[in-house]
Amino acid sequence: MSVVKMEKLFKYYHLGKLEVPALKDINLSFVEGDFVSIAGPSGSGKTTLLNLIGCLDKPSKGKISIGNEDVSHFNSNQLADIRNYNIGFIFQTFNLIPVLTAYENVEFPLIIQGEVDKKVMREKVMNILKEMDIVDLWDRKPNEISGGQQQRVAIARALIKRPKVILADEPTANLDSHIGEEILKLMYKMNQKHKVTFIFSTHDPMVMHYAARLVKLHDGEVVSDEKKH
C-alpha cells in the first residue's frame, strides 16, 4: 500500500516572465516502511520534490496522493490537516520553537490537532520522550540543549502523531558525524519499530548508506531509483 504516490507530476516556477520547470514528469511511489534517500546536486529539484511530498506546495500538473487521498487540488486548510495528521518534518536547523520547552515542542502537534485531554497528551509525550532517551530534558528550552538533543526533540515531535511519512531535509548537516550517526540509527530504529516511512534529502554519504532505497534527481527528473540490499 503506497503511502505517497506521484503520477506525472510537474512543477513550474515563475521567474519574472519566464516559466522555469523545477520538476518534470515525476512518477514515484513510496510504501509503508520505506527508508529512502533522495539525492542530487543543487538546482536538481530536490527541495521542490520534498515540498510537494510534504504537502507544503501544490503541483502545477499531475497527481499526488497521500495514503488514499488525492491531495493534488486541496486548498491550504485541507493541506494543513493532511500535514498535521500524516506528515512529520525534520530539518537541518532543527526549527524548534525557542520559547517552548522540549515537552511543549513535542506536544505542539497534538495541540494543533485539537487534543484537549491532558492525561492522554502527557502519556503520548512521555512515551516518545522515553523512546528518544531525552526524558530528563523535558523542561529545557532549545537554547539550553545541544544540537544532537535538539534533533531528538525534533524527531519526537515529528513522530508523536504517528504520521505516515517523515520528511527529513539534511537532518545531520548541523551535527558532528558521531552524533549524526546516533541520530540516524535512532531514526532507523523508529522506522523499523513503527513502520513510519522516512524520506531523506541529503548529500551525506552516511545517510545514503543507511537508506534502503536511493532516488537520484537531475534537472528536475528522476534519473535513477535503486533499491539496495
Binding site: G54, D57, I112
Partner: protein, 411 residues
C-alpha cells in the same frame, strides 16, 4: 486555547526591550486620554451645573416678550398670575422642583463704589430644595421671606465693603419706570465658587422684590428643575402647550440646552476631545504595529514550521493578535491606573483658575475639579487594548501569508 495564550505570552517576553517600548506608548496614550477626559468632563460638568443653578435651571419659563430684550431684564414683560403657572408646571411628570424668581439689574452704589449688579428675588425655602442654598452660605444665614434682607456674594461683599449686619441700599427702576429704593440688611454672604456670580449677585426675598419693583403677584421667570436634565427639551415643548391656555404663545418654556451657548460648547468640546483622543491612540498604536510586524518577520521560519506541522492560518493570526492584546492589556492597565490616579488627584485637588477669571462675565468656577469616573478608566483601558489589537491586524495578516515552504527554505 490556553496553550496559544501561553505561547503568545512567552513570545511577548522574548524581546523585552521591544515589548516595553511599544507598551510604553500605549501606556502613555491611555493615561493621557483618561485623565484629560476626566478633567474636561469635570470642568464641563461644573460649568453646566453652575449655569443651571444660577441662571437657566433645567427649564425656565418666561414671558415670550421678555426674550426679545432679555439682556435688559425688562420687568414689565412678566408672568402675571404666576401661581397658576407654577401649579401647572409642578404637576407635570418629570419635574422635580419649581420656584419663581425675579431678576433685575441695579447700578449699585455704596461708599464711592459703583458697579452694575443683579438682584434676584427668590423663595428661600424652594431654593434650598433646589440647590442646597444654605450650603453656599459662608457667613450668616439665608434670607427669609417677608424680611427686608439680602444675601450677597463673597466678592460683592468684598467690593462694596459689606459685612453681615450691614445695610445695603438698593436704588432701582420699577417696572413702570419710576425710581424705587429699599434698605436691605445683609443677613448672609454666599459663594458659588465662581467669580462672576459671587461678584455681581445678591439675593432678596421675592415678596420684597415684588414690592420694590412694583410688580405685585408677578414674577419674571419660573425656574424649573427636572429629574432628568436630558429630557428638558421634550418637557419644555410639553409645557409650552400646557401653560398657554388660549393657544397663543404668551409664555415660553426654554430648556437649558437652548439657553446661551453652554450646551453648544459642551457638544463641541466633546467632539473635539474625542477626536484628539482617537488621534493620540492611533499614533500610539502605531508603535505596536511596527513591533508586531518586526516580530512576525523575525519569526518567519518559526511560523513556517508551525504551518508545516499543520497550524491553520487563523491560528497563526490569532497568536499575533493575542500577543498584541497581551501587550495592550498590561500597558493599558498600567496606563489606566496612572490615569486614574491623576484624575483622582484632579477630582480632589482641582486646578485653580482663580486669578485671571475675576474679570470674566462667564460663570466659570474658580477652582475646577476633574470628574473621577471608573467608567472613563474602564473605557480608556478597553480602548487601549482595542487599538493594540487593531494595530496588529496588518502584521497578523502578513504572518498568515507566509508560505511554509518559503519560510523553511535555508538561505
Amino acid at each position: 486555547m490556553f496553550f496559544l495564550l501561553k505561547f503568545a505570552f512567552r513570545n511577548v517576553l522574548r524581546n523585552s526591550r521591544r515589548t516595553i517600548l511599544s507598551g510604553l506608548s500605549i501606556m502613555f496614550a491611555v493615561m493621557i486620554v483618561i485623565y484629560m477626559w476626566s478633567f474636561i468632563m469635570g470642568m464641563m460638568g461644573d460649568v453646566v451645573d453652575l449655569f443651571v443653578q444660577s441662571t437657566s435651571g433645567h427649564i425656565r419659563v418666561v414671558n415670550t416678550e421678555y426674550l426679545k430684550r432679555e439682556k435688559m431684564l425688562p420687568l414689565n414683560k412678566n408672568i402675571a398670575n404666576y401661581q397658576k403657572v407654577l401649579d401647572v408646571v409642578e404637576k407635570t411628570p418629570g419635574v422635580k422642583l419649581v420656584t419663581p424668581r425675579i431678576k433685575f439689574g441695579v447700578l449699585m452704589e455704596r461708599e464711592g463704589k459703583n458697579k452694575p449688579v443683579f438682584g434676584i428675588g427668590i423663595d428661600p425655602q424652594k431654593e434650598e430644595q433646589a440647590m442646597n442654598f444654605s450650603k453656599k452660605i459662608i457667613e450668616g444665614r439665608p434670607i427669609m421671606m417677608g424680611k427686608e434682607e439680602a444675601n450677597v456674594g463673597a466678592l460683592f461683599a468684598r467690593d462694596f465693603g459689606l459685612k453681615v449686619g450691614d445695610t445695603l441700599t438698593v436704588v432701582t427702576q420699577t417696572a413702570h419706570g419710576s425710581i424705587s429704593a429699599m434698605n436691605l440688611k445683609v443677613a448672609g454672604i454666599f459663594s458659588f465658587g465662581a467669580a462672576a456670580i459671587d461678584r455681581r449677585t445678591f439675593y432678596m426675598p421675592i415678596d420684597k422684590a415684588q414690592y420694590l419693583l412694583d410688580i405685585p403677584n408677578r414674577v419674571t421667570e419660573i425656574f424649573v428643575l427636572l429629574k432628568n436634565e436630558n429630557k428638558a427639551p421634550m418637557i419644555a415643548a410639553m409645557l409650552d402647550k400646557k401653560i398657554n391656555a388660549s393657544g397663543a404663545l404668551k409664555y415660553k418654556a426654554r430648556a437649558w440646552q437652548e439657553q446661551g451657548f453652554v450646551f453648544l460648547w459642551m457638544m463641541m468640546a466633546k467632539y473635539i476631545y474625542m477626536t484628539i483622543y482617537a488621534i493620540i491612540l492611533f499614533f500610539a498604536s502605531f508603535t505596536i504595529l511596527n513591533t508586531m510586524f518586526m516580530a512576525v518577520m523575525e519569526r518567519a521560519k518559526e511560523i513556517g514550521m508551525m504551518k508545516a506541522m499543520g497550524m491553520r492560518n487563523s491560528q497563526v493570526k490569532g497568536v499575533v493578535l493575542l500577543e498584541a492584546a497581551i501587550i495592550g492589556f498590561f500597558a493599558s492597565m498600567i496606563g489606566a491606573f496612572l490615569g486614574g490616579a491623576i484624575s483622582y488627584g484632579l477630582s480632589v485637588a482641582g486646578i485653580a483658575f482663580g486669578g485671571g477669571m475675576e474679570g470674566v462675565d462667564m460663570a466659570i468656577p474658580m477652582v475646577m475639579y476633574g470628574k473621577f469616573s471608573l467608567f472613563y478608566i474602564f473605557v480608556g483601558f478597553l480602548m487601549g487594548i482595542l487599538f493594540s489589537v487593531l494595530a496588529a491586524i496588518f502584521p497578523a495578516l502578513r504572518a498568515a501569508r507566509f508560505e511554509p515552504a518559503e519560510a523553511l527554505r535555508e538561505i
